[in-house]
């Protein structure tokens, strides 16, 4: 039976990538990346690909003179983006980049992109998060970038594989990683010490429960040992790691929703118990990182994207650690990538990819990573441009080490448009309303299934 399986598709895609797409090696890359990229395993294998001048439909297309870039400046990164653009202009004075704020968060940029498609006012590069790009793949409004990657000789093998694969579907690449992250366990070393805890994150959630009690005993009024994120701030993302650790998952690759499993119920009721029976956790009123910086919580699970900001603003020493485990370890990737709308002229697509390629070059992704906190998207950046930095900031090192243990997200969250919000609302019912996961998950499952039937299935068939 050929039911659609994401794994199969990805397998195909990976195969395709190995043969065709990755036909560009270190030796072909421009000076900028080859100097830092030389000698890394990534570029080495890439170099064996067929890099001979196979033509694409973009051959000979002169890049357009302007690129409009819609960004949400995740984790207050506007200044950093502007600096990268300045650097780009120095290298490519003939392509002017116009940075536009397209919303306050990923949902808003997606709305704005959708509205822009209606009004025929679209950018050349749009920042789409893990949970939104697929909607535009379904609507056939973003362009596959394989030919562009080939034409501009982007050093794909040097990119972090997990991050690149997240945008593959139907054997094609639909976006490139940019502001990519994983959830990270942040803890306040001062509070840790006050509670007599060792200087590390809890290895397991059972240990966290034990430590949570100790931390809570020392906490002032309105302070907590651990703080959960809000539903609309990607609670379903950080929780995804937890449900995996409990041995469950939201769904399988063919959109079968698995929330009725005992594991899913246990995971849901576990986070609920942190708030309502163990009473050492709460849910943030606005932003978990703000609470953490303000010292009203001792620990959070939050995106690596906020790391630089937290380290800058916190008045105490900050520790970072892997997710705690339960039955097993589990950690999703997340964050946003850059996509190119299908409706823009070829010249604009080439200019757009020129810009995307530039942002991904090791020294640039490393600059972005150091100043914001997102993952460097290139392997060679870690051994090259960032090596010194990582020695002085062990907190970043934890994040990068965790990356190798991540897995791709469940289809229910990232492929069903609005799926993240549906799951987030379910989690809020448990965390804010103290409702039993046994009663909540069936509603969520029903809603996800109906969203799949209405918004995904008809379009996948077409």
């Amino acid at each position: 039976m050929s039911t659609l399986s994401r794994r199969n598709v990805l397998g195909l895609a990976a195969g395709a990538a190995a043969i065709g797409i990755v036909g560009c090696g270190g030796d072909d890359s421009p000076k900028g990346s080859s100097t830092t990229g030389a000698g890394t395993p990534g570029t080495g294998t890439g170099g064996t690909g067929t890099s001979s001048a196979s033509t694409t439909k973009f051959s000979g297309v002169k890049p357009a003179g302007q690129v409009t870039f819609w960004s949400v400046h995740p984790a207050n990164s506007k200044a950093v983006e502007e600096e990268l653009i300045t650097r780009f202009q120095a290298k490519y004075p003939e392509i002017k980049v116009k940075l536009e704020t397209a919303g306050a968060n990923y949902a808003e940029v997606s709305q704005k992109f959708n509205a822009g498609l209606v009004a025929k006012q679209i950018p050349d590069v749009v920042m789409l998060s893990d949970v939104w790009w697929f909607k535009y793949y379904l609507a056939k409004t973003i362009a596959p970038v394989d030919d562009l990657l080939k034409e501009l000789k982007v050093d794909l093998p040097d990119y972090q594989e997990t991050l690149v694969k997240d945008y593959q579907y139907d054997g094609k690449q639909w976006a490139m990683p940019f502001a990519r992250s994983t959830p990270l366990f942040y803890y306040n070393k001062q509070k840790w010490q006050a509670a007599g805890l060792p200087d590390r994150g809890p290895k397991t959630w059972d240990e966290m429960d034990e430590w949570g009690g100790k931390l809570q005993a020392k906490a002032g009024s309105g302070e907590y040992a651990f703080t959960h994120v809000k539903g609309d701030s990607y609670a379903a993302w950080t929780f995804q790691g937890i449900i995996w650790q409990f041995g469950g998952r939201y769904s399988d690759p063919s959109f079968k929703i698995l929330l009725d499993s005992q594991e899913a119920i246990d995971a849901g009721n576990y986070v609920r118990s942190q708030v309502y029976s163990k009473k050492y956790a709460n849910v943030t009123a606005n932003s978990e990182t703000a609470d953490f910086i303000a010292g009203t919580t001792a620990s959070i699970l939050s995106s690596t994207g906020g790391l630089a900001g937290v380290l800058r603003d916190a008045k105490f020493e900050v520790g970072t650690a892997f997710y705690p485990e339960k039955k097993q370890f589990g950690c999703p990737t997340g964050g946003a990538g850059l996509a190119i709308p299908d409706a823009i002229p070829d010249a604009n697509k080439v200019a757009a990819m020129t810009f995307i390629k530039f942002l991904g070059e090791p020294e640039n992704t490393s600059y972005y990573s150091q100043n914001v906190g997102y993952m460097p998207v290139r392997k060679s950046a870690i051994t090259g441009a960032m090596a010194e930095f990582l020695k002085t900031k062990p907190q970043f090192k934890t994040a990068i080490e965790q990356l190798s243990k991540t897995q791709s997200q469940d289809s229910a969250r990232v492929y069903i448009p609005g799926g993240d919000a549906i799951l987030g609302k379910g989690l809020e019912r448990m965390l804010l309303n103290n409702e039993d996961a046994r009663n909540v998950w069936p509603d969520v499952k029903k809603e996800l299934e109906s969203a799949y039937q209405n918004d995904v299935r008809p379009k996948l068939k077409a």
Binding site: A104, A115, G116, V118, A119, N286, S287
Partner: protein, 295 residues
């Protein structure tokens, strides 16, 4: 039909005979106390806003809360002004308010003039057709209007913000009711003198309708200045974004971790309209409460 009676002049007349209602100094003190209390309660959020806009971040985010700023910390205003392009928002608000109000007032006056002073078969039906628009709130028609404006390529333009709201029902009603009260003799006299309609409107009818016209203009200006949902959809970037949307932008960029800056931004939005209100409160109050009590 209905016209406001609550003019400022009348509000200022005390009703002497009611004075006997509550007796004694104790009663008076209680009443004053109550009035002062109410004013404080009503004013508290605005004072809190101004206070926070002058506090340092440290003062805002420490417990116990400091009620007043220790010194005037103007930095928040500078930060709010630079975090988002407020001067652009001001300019856009001025453009959309002035042009939008001009369009509406012109439409209202011309329509009312035609309905009162020009002959046309069954113009009562025309009036009803205009008045019925009051029954259709803009939220109900957002989607088709957005589609239409998209098709016209008016998204993110001034005309996209202004023109869909250019039709006016309530203002037409307001002006018409007033025109009907104008003395017929003056109009007739002007007609016999051979004055054209535009000249008559300009030199006779409008000067005789100044208070109503000012009222109509002011309520239109206030509504335009505060307009939110339609510009939210149509203004997709700072090029045409107005102040209330700009404030939302500021809220998004500074969030709840920079209340001082956000409150400074709120002051930017609130102060101009409050100034206009204080300057012209009689007309605003009259206009906004028009139709409530028969005059």
């Amino acid at each position: 039909m209905a016209r406001a009676v609550a003019t400022g002049a009348e509000l200022q007349q005390p009703k002497p005979r009611q004075r006997v209602a509550w007796r004694g100094a104790a009663g008076a003190i209680a009443q004053y106390g109550l009035m002062v209390l109410c004013v404080i309660v009503i004013f508290a959020p605005l004072l809190w806003m101004v206070g926070a806009s002058l506090k340092t971040r440290q003062e805002i985010y420490s417990l116990p809360i400091s009620w007043l700023p220790s010194s005037l910390h103007w930095e928040n205003y500078r930060q709010a002004w630079t975090a988002v392009p407020f001067e652009r928002y001001f300019f856009n608000s001025l453009v959309t308010t002035i042009l939008g109000s001009a369009l509406k007032v012109t439409n209202g006056v011309l329509t009312a003039y035609a309905l009162v002073f020009l002959r046309f078969p069954r113009k009562d039906l025309v009036f009803l057709a205009i008045l019925a628009a009051l029954m259709v709130p803009e939220q109900v028609v957002l989607i088709p209007n957005y589609v239409l404006v998209s098709e016209l390529n008016w998204v993110n333009t001034y005309q996209g913000i202004i023109i869909p709201g250019g039709g006016v029902a309530f203002g037409t009603f307001l002006m018409r009711q007033h025109f009907l009260t104008l003395p017929k003799e003056v109009i007739e006299a002007a007609r016999i003198d051979g004055a054209g309609h535009l000249r008559m409107l300009w030199t006779i009818v409008l000067p005789m309708s100044r208070p109503t016209l000012i009222t109509f203009t002011l309520i239109t200006v206030v509504a335009k200045w505060n307009e939110y949902v339609w510009p939210l959809l149509v203004a997709t970037d700072d090029k045409v974004r107005t102040l209330p949307l700009g404030l939302t932008q500021l809220q998004n960029s500074e969030g709840q971790t920079q209340w001082g800056v956000v409150m400074a931004g709120a002051v930017f939005v609130i102060v101009p309209i409050l100034a206009l209100f204080v300057w012209s409160q009689r007309h605003v109050v009259e206009g906004l409460t028009a139709g409530s009590v028969k005059g």
